[in-house]
């Protein structure tokens, strides 16, 4: 079946060699190295015993359950969609630094989704879907998987729109929120997610910085269009803010 399809040429074969593995982007390589030293586990690295959901009213708990459920859906997008970018790096034979780092990003996003789900659960309940059906479209996808597999969409545009603009909004919202978290378990969780997200966004800007000298006017137009589309069609439609 699978091998038969390969033998009959149903799949396009990668041109894999030469396969360089030496770092060529030291700043991005440093992010990969750093990510490996900062792994954490939502089950064991959050002081769950300090959550004390019994101290909150039913109304407060419901609000928090909904907030963390919504965060779970958003983080899940980074498991279901963004990993397609790693495939794109490999298929376009981008530098190894990008590929190494992005494997950690996928792992970290999985952790964020699990952590957000756990928080909702431990606050009493995780909601597996938006209660208002029209919001499903708004919170369901940012369309990055489709963009990543589309050769007409430039990688620089995807970086600028997703890895820089959208992540920058996410991180700014988080920064504005984390210091208001008085509950120690919630605060620790937000700090840990933020620590990972800072690396994710640094990755985006470092790549754009490195590529910027070779931008053509067309690349710049692609970036502008992609960022505008992300803001208008995803952020303004309520992906993060209903």
């Amino acid at each position: 079946m699978l091998v038969e399809k390969e033998r009959t040429g149903a799949y396009v074969l990668e041109q894999r060699y030469p396969l360089p593995l030496r770092s060529a982007m030291p700043d991005v390589w440093e992010l990969w190295q750093r990510a490996k030293t900062l792994e954490w586990d939502p089950q064991t690295d959050i002081p769950w015993e300090e959550l004390h959901p019994e101290r909150y009213s039913a109304e407060q708990l419901l609000a928090a359950q909904m907030y963390w459920s919504r965060r779970t859906w958003g983080e899940y997008g980074a498991i279901s969609e963004s990993p397609a970018l790693l495939l794109r790096f490999a298929l376009e034979r981008r530098l190894p630094d990008l590929q190494f780092f992005f494997t950690m990003r996928t792992m970290e996003e999985g952790r964020h989704a699990e952590a957000s789900w756990l928080m909702a659960e431990r606050l009493g309940r995780y909601f597996p879907q938006p209660q208002n059906p029209p919001t499903v479209g708004a919170v369901g996808t940012h369309g990055v998987r489709r963009m990543a597999f589309d050769p007409e969409t430039s990688l620089e545009g995807i970086f600028a729109s997703l890895v820089c603009a959208a992540e920058e909004i996410l991180i700014d919202v988080f920064k504005a929120t984390v210091h208001k978290a008085t509950n120690p378990a919630v605060r620790r969780l937000m700090e840990l997610i933020l620590r990972d997200e800072v690396r994710h966004i640094a990755f985006g800007w470092q790549c754009l910085d490195a590529w910027a000298p070779s931008f053509t006017p067309e690349t710049v137009r692609n970036i502008e269009a992609a960022v505008t589309a992300m803001i208008e069609n995803v952020e303004f439609r309520g992906y993060r803010n209903l």
């Binding site: 079946m1 699978l2 091998v3 593995l21 790693l86 490999a90 789900w117 597996p128 369901g140």
Partner: protein
């Protein structure tokens, strides 16, 4: 557009066409464990994380104890191993996307597990690269068409192919190929005498053991529910994979076409002799047969019968 970017565009369009055959249904998005053993493997992955840079005592790797010829052999062996690890980054990523596209709101245990696997593969790749570099220099190209072909298969693309049932894919690449890879690593570990190389292999093998356990546990949760067509797809895919990929030398240099074996086979023998992380062809032959026997036994518990496969040198397997 350059030839390289034209080829990349063709590859992307192939992936795009496959992705568009699925309709992802994301909600209701279930997170609670469905297959506890898979969730447990994910928990273990989180607990047993390691860092190639800091968890291997690289400064204790004393290359001055070895001759130039031995180091040349070892750098070749670890370079070839790096090429065989590299596809894991994209294959496991593509499989993760496949699960997300196909399973809709279910299957979170497998998705969480697979969200970790690409990073684990990347760590293995980093280890192979560092070892090759320390032995004298990583070689980025097989430089021989036969070996290049045998070590470059479009399995990432196959992971996203709706015509290939996910159970068949996991059976071929997990239960057969990952299992063989694990057994080979354990064989290399038995032959390895250098303390640094032993640590490196042990760390890789501990992850690989989890990958293999995932494949068997996943199949255990799915195979009993398959209809006759699904079961036939599993068998056909594994048989094809064994006959045309494994026995064509994907993991074992001694199985490559004769003109493609050298200098890689001699390098592995020399690396094995000096305990730097390889097994002899004779040892690998035993490991391959044992792996196939092990696979047949486990398949038999689901009443899946893997037909015999003929090989010009090995005879009937």
């Amino acid at each position: 557009m350059s030839e390289t970017s034209e080829h990349a565009a063709r590859l992307l369009r192939a992936y795009q066409a496959q992705e568009q055959r699925f309709v992802e249904r994301r909600f209701p998005l279930q997170f609670a464990p469905e297959v506890p053993v898979l969730r447990e493997l994910y928990s273990q992955a989180k607990a047993f994380h390691w860092n190639p840079e800091t968890d291997i005592a690289w400064d204790r790797l004393d290359t001055s104890r070895h001759t130039k010829a031995t180091l040349e052999a070892a750098r070749r062996t670890w370079s070839r191993r790096a090429w065989s690890v590299y596809p894991g980054l994209t294959e496991s990523t593509a499989l993760l996307i496949r699960f997300c596209l196909e399973s809709g709101s279910l299957g979170m245990d497998a998705k969480l597990f697979l969200s970790f696997r690409p990073a684990e593969e990347a760590k293995h790749l980093e280890v192979c690269h560092i070892l090759a570099e320390r032995m004298g220099g990583y070689e980025s190209d097989p430089g021989e068409a036969g070996l290049a072909r045998a070590s470059n298969h479009p399995f990432g693309q196959a992971a996203l192919d709706a015509d290939v049932p996910v159970e068949a894919y996991v059976a071929a690449l997990g239960a057969l190929d990952d299992q063989l890879d694990l057994n080979l690593y354990l064989g290399h570990l038995r032959s390895a005498r250098d303390e640094v190389v032993r640590t490196a292999i042990r760390l890789i093998a501990s992850d690989r053991a989890r990958h293999v356990a995932f494949a068997w546990a996943f199949l255990g949760s799915r195979v009993p529910t398959l209809d006759a067509g699904g079961r036939a797809a599993v068998i056909d895919t594994v048989r094809e994979f064994l006959a045309h990929v494994v026995l064509a030398g994907y993991r074992n240099t001694w199985l490559l076409p004769e003109k493609s074996r050298e200098p890689w086979l001699a390098a592995e023998e020399e690396t094995a002799r000096h305990g730097l992380g390889a097994s002899s062809a004779t040892q690998e032959r035993g490991i391959l047969r044992a792996t196939i026997a092990q696979l047949r036994e486990r398949f038999a518990s689901w009443n899946l019968v893997l037909p015999v496969v003929d090989h010009p040198e090995l005879g009937t397997i």
